[in-house]
Subunit: 418 residues, 2 copies
């Protein structure tokens, strides 16, 4: 893409009311726009990175048998009353609204209820199980505070998968499989080394659940890590003896850290299926409640955590897997020769399947380099009179700062062979 | 995809409260689920077709220079007050909600205001223009009635593009280009033959605008068509003499038809840029308001219109370009030989890039054929003992009913060479 067509501009300063590092950086680099506290829009660069994260999650969910659907945001109170989650005393994060008739509706903060209700039309026999259904869908949560940038917002897309199986045994099997898939997601987006499967409270659904926590100074959670076993325990259950029996961890080998929840997996059991009447007939013709689990990841929160962790004083340092582009082609000068060379480079890379942001703007070299560092695309390639006369192009890795000089064929080889 | 993994079931009957043909069909075929009046969720088959329509629109918007972004649904009242569209007396389709603090927010029914406000940070000079920004984003509209199934819903994804240019001349140029792109979209999704560019009222923005109207008995609009010129006039402006001068059409050569609006393009002029202070400096350093236009298409409405128009008494008849799968592979019997052959066929087609829904269920042949007709995938291929003994497979076109018998290599050739 030509940078002249990308309408966004980088900024020297983030809005004065923005206190979180991730939002400050993502706003300055032109990835997101702040609409109001806890509400952000995605600009073209931000949307590209967001979509890359979505694609990685989708691939891993499909790999464990997930089938994608898309539920509505507007919620019918009837199904939520059946599980006693409609009243604001029970759930304080509802955003509610009204039809013109005056009838109240909700904006989904999660989707257990409508999906369980929907499945009554499709699940009736053991032969219909298992079902693993997931979506990327907007959740609305009326958060009291919104000071963590894109880590906690009032409106965000969530990947939520719900598993419907016959019994606890089948559930445990899928639960472990999905936990492994989550591990792969965090690995692929670049958070593998800092993310721990964390034993935590089960909230209102079950005694315990698992979170995936990424170690991060600005995180809202405190966890206790066993780094050899790559496991952790959330502070909520740190003093609970049963946890140590269940996990085999020892209190004295744990180290404390601040962390951000980047994913969670819950055993729901039959709480929703019983309340909403989702049953199946087993081989003997007996009616049984369907056993359920839920599994969430917020792609924009991953983006925010990566912004917190993978940046330096110059700006973002995106991992290749989720960078908005692979190459930032920086053209210096606009004389005919340089222009022609930049165009050729752009075409050659693009047809080799490399995604390129081509800085064809009129800005000065210093501004272009500062912008390029701020945006944080993994590889910068400079086309200038100097590179023309040498027949080699300066290639700078954003991550390491390493510089190499490569001819166009060498570059293509470098970018397509790894 | 194996049909046994697709959890949805077809239904003999749609919900009794569903009066529209498109929703009845799409529910029966397992494409959508009705949450409540005017609110539908997308099941896996429906989501696939929806995404295909989105892809076609995205390609055509990119082709005219569109850059994709994604704005929030939650709306800050401040920007809407500046254009006098916050009060419910002015806009009766708002859904509003509240923060815990009691502060009111809106749910976007369109996005002129926030995008114009956002652009103030990116547009300041004539060098920053033009900008064509678009999104696929959920709109919420508090419709009084919701009886047209997916043609008019209270929550729906819309492709809305907004153009920001220097003056009316530049606007008219892009407006025409975008109208042509819309023509291509309707052509590609299979509505080309029935869709007319239609002169209509400009609403609150300008005197006139253009709609794209698809002729359809169940449509809410009435249009007057000149079929030679492929143009039409909306009833709203049918008696307005100026329209005939502007279009060169003659009242006596027009024929009346019911139609559904499948797209619209508006000249917004400087209404929003002046109210919100979106200006640019021209070559002389003078401050000018940016000239705007907006361009909308609802992918689910297209899906609904296609369901109304491209179906028969057996079910859906999807055009190839937006069908959820290209081939419905129907396996009859589950003896080892048939099973093996079906698997081989599935692999061969899939690796040739053909998307296949493989009916590997235990249903009887009659049920499978009825399901297949209802779902409406363009080509049905039957694998059975009969096909094995003949070495040829029965291939039935859903559209024409034409039957051919082809060997596997012939099939692959047939499916990949056109």
């Amino acid at each position: 893409m030509r940078q002249s067509e990308l309408f966004t501009k980088t900024r020297r300063e983030a809005p004065s009311d923005e206190v979180s590092k991730n939002a400050q950086l993502l706003i300055r680099a032109g990835f997101v726009h702040k609409e109001m506290a806890g509400v952000y829009s995605f600009l073209p660069l931000g949307l590209r990175t967001f979509e890359r994260i979505v694609t990685i999650i989708r691939e891993e969910m499909n790999a464990v048998g997930g089938v994608e659907l898309y539920l509505s945001a507007l919620q019918n109170p009837e199904v939520w009353k059946k599980t006693d989650r409609w009243s604001e005393e029970k759930v304080d994060s509802w955003f509610k609204t009204k039809l013109r008739s005056g009838a109240e509706l909700g904006l989904g903060f999660t989707h257990e209820e409508p999906l369980t209700a929907l499945m009554r039309e499709h699940i009736s026999s053991y032969k219909d199980l298992p079902v693993y259904a997931y979506q990327f869908q907007t959740k609305f949560r009326n958060e009291e505070r919104a000071k963590s940038g894109l880590m906690r917002t009032r409106e965000f897309v969530m990947k939520d998968l719900y598993s419907f199986v016959r019994d606890e045994k089948a559930h445990v099997e899928f639960y472990e499989k999905c936990a492994d898939a989550y591990g792969k997601v965090f690995e692929r987006v670049g958070l593998g080394a800092v993310t721990y499967k964390t034993f935590s409270s089960g909230g209102s659904f079950s005694k315990y659940s698992h979170e995936f926590q990424a170690v991060c100074e600005t995180g809202e959670d405190t966890i206790y890590i066993d780094s050899d076993k790559k496991l952790a325990i959330n502070k909520e259950v740190y003093d609970d003896k049963e946890v140590y029996e269940a996990t085999g961890l020892h209190k004295d080998s744990l180290t404390e850290a601040k962390a951000v929840e980047v994913g969670n997996i819950f055993t729901l059991g039959t709480r929703f299926s019983e309340a909403l009447g989702l049953k199946y007939k087993n081989e003997k013709g007996e009616e049984m409640p369907v056993f359920m689990g839920s599994y969430g990841i917020g792609p924009a929160r991953l983006m925010a955590v990566i912004a917190e962790l993978m940046s330096d004083n110059k700006g973002m340092v995106w991992p290749e897997s989720i960078a908005p582009f692979r190459v930032h082609l920086v053209q210096l000068g606009d004389d005919a020769e340089v222009q022609k060379e930049a165009e050729e480079m752009y075409r050659a890379l693009t047809s080799a399947g490399v995604e390129v942001l081509w800085d064809d703007t009129e800005h000065r070299a210093g501004e272009k380099f500062a912008d390029s560092d701020l945006i944080g695309i993994p590889l910068r390639i400079v086309v200038s009179q100097k590179s023309l006369s040498e027949g080699k192009f300066e290639c700078v890795e954003r991550h390491s700062g390493t510089t190499a000089h490569r001819s166009l064929p060498e570059l293509i080889g470098h970018l397509t062979n790894d």
